[in-house]
Amino acid sequence: MSVTTTPAPVLAPPLAAPRSRGYWGTVGYRLRHDPVTLFFGALLLMIILSALFAPWLSPFDPYKESIIRRLKVPGYMGHLLGTDELGRDMLSRLLHGGRITLMMGFVPVLVATLVGGGLGILAGLAGGRVNALIMRVMDVFYAFPSVLLAVAISGAMGGGVFNALLALSLVFIPPLCRVAETATTQVRNLDFVDAARATGAKLHLVLWHHVLGNVLGPILVYASGMISVGILLGSGLSFLGLGVKPPEPDWGLMLNTLRQAIYVNPLLAALPGIAIFLTSVSINMVSDGLRSAMDVRL
């Protein structure tokens, strides 16, 4: 902490000051110069794109069964990654399976960011009783281990993708609400919000220009870390039979049904897990890179 003493008035310092990038400019600059994050970002992009374009990339019909081609090793008859317990092409199923697994990661976090983040910002801005009401309700949901809450809700409602998405959204709302509430309460008490109010500006202008921009960063960083948890939990639900219904391809469900294959062709049973692992590692690494890039001391 050094306070430089400047002669008054400071009009023309001889040296050119470093060009200001602004907050997001600095974050972008740091991300572009972080090879690890870039690598995993590219990997993640590849995974997302291949899931998105699965119908065009898949060499076989992912639902086509064959009794004679069950549990074949990679390379057999053009099946690059072999076949599953019903003789379906593994590669095609993995490509298609990514769609639902990725959805399980992204959709609940998006919903929770909007709902939980919104509630948290509201609680932080309102303070007092509104805050107490919202946060005490969140505390109740917080009192469940996340896996247990997801299993409880989707278990009671019965399986299915929609119910699983709903359950996961409910799991993520409390933590995001807490993060948003903490960030908002911190920012709300800073003098620049009071200074903005003191100009006589309308409340929505103060919120939009001075509060939201300072709250969004921490919420987004936290939410990005939740995506990989969503993928792990979502495929966990599918693994328990609470997600997708067969014959729909999904990494978690494939992991479950291929368990019986471990004595015949162990590699096959490991494949969907590798896919889940790679996806969640890249999301975690990108989130971590984002976190340190956004950690600008202000």
Partner: protein, 318 residues
């Protein structure tokens, strides 16, 4: 301290009530008539009438909840649709096995995590630190149920060293650590389950130790010629309270979170019970098990909180 205890207990009470409310509502989340959800499809008219009367299903929801809560407080969690046995006795039979699994997993995780965390925190920013931190990220990205399958492939299928599932002879009975056959059965589930606590405890230890190492008095101690071993011992001592607290929290979380690992290894605990209840749509068992596990989680969190405040003089004022 007494005041703090009182306050914490008062704060936990509404949470526990809220948790019970959510568990109560699970029955209503299920599609269809709650009566059908709670009864086996072949229940006779007498049983139906009895249950209707017991839960007061025609009364308004808040009254139903109070009636249900009264039953639960008396130890009646309803009857399993699949087996017809009381839910409480089903939970009793499996709870011990889950406690065993979670406790052993946390106890195994502790020394390993302490070692990793100390190595990383001692020279934070160094290559060892980066290695440990990177491994921790890999650890939390790993679906532990998949790790379980891979371990089974390796040690049961390929090498044939360890059994793939179950608890071994007289499984659901008492666990005897000297019984080699039982010990063999617990190794793989425990190793799988301890993955997450290792990562989380190591991270806590690392943060705490690197914080101490950066403090001025450590520099002073070193400048005065205190041997590194003593400096390290001081740092570890300082890290212990928060590490122990995280261990407690992890134990509670594993109790509720072991469902996937128990399913992979067919370990006869509460998680396996839940997993079976989901497959058979045995809602009373699902509801009761989740209630018990969530309450255990709340109780361990409270215990950890009290433990921590008993160590920290700053919290004593309440």
């Amino acid at each position: 301290m007494l005041l703090h205890l009182q306050r914490r207990l008062l704060a936990v009470l509404p949470i526990a009530l809220g948790v019970s409310m959510i568990c109560f509502l699970l029955v209503y989340l299920a599609p269809g008539d709650p009566l059908q959800t709670l009864l086996p499809p072949d229940a006779d008219a007498e049983t139906v009438a009895k249950l209707k009367q017991l839960y007061g299903l025609d009364r308004p929801l808040p009254l139903q909840y109070l009636a249900w809560l009264w039953q639960v407080m008396g130890g009646d969690l309803g009857q399993s649709i699949a087996t017809g046995r009381p839910v409480l006795s089903e939970i009793r039979r499996s709870l011990g096995n889950t406690v065993l699994l979670a406790a052993v997993a946390v106890l195994i995780a502790f020394p390993l995590a302490m070692l990793l965390g100390t190595i990383a925190g001692y020279r934070s920013g160094g290559w060892m630190d980066r290695g440990v931190t990177g491994t921790a990220i890999l650890g939390v990205s790993l679906p532990n149920y998949w790790l379980g399958i891979v371990l089974v492939i390796l040690f049961s299928v390929e090498l044939g060293w360890l059994p793939a599932s179950g608890m071994g002879p007289d499984g659901s009975g008492t666990f005897n650590p000297l019984h080699w056959e039982q010990l063999r059965h617990i190794i793989l589930p425990v190793v799988t389950l301890s993955m997450i606590p290792v990562g989380i405890i190591a991270r806590t230890a690392r943060a705490s130790i690197s914080e101490v190492m950066a403090q001025d008095f450590v520099t002073t101690l070193r400048a005065n010629g205190l041997p590194e071993r003593r400096v390290l011992r001081h740092a570890v001592k300082n890290a212990l309270p928060s590490v122990l607290a995280v261990m407690g929290l992890q134990f509670g979380a594993l109790m509720g979170g072991s469902i996937l690992v128990e399913t992979v290894f067919a370990w006869p605990g509460t998680g396996f019970l839940l997993s079976k209840a989901i497959l058979t749509r045995d809602i009373p068992v699902l509801q009761g098990t989740i209630l018990v596990l969530a309450m255990i989680f709340v109780a361990t969190n409270l215990a950890v909180d009290l433990f921590q405040s008993s160590l920290d003089p700053r919290i004593k004022r309440g």
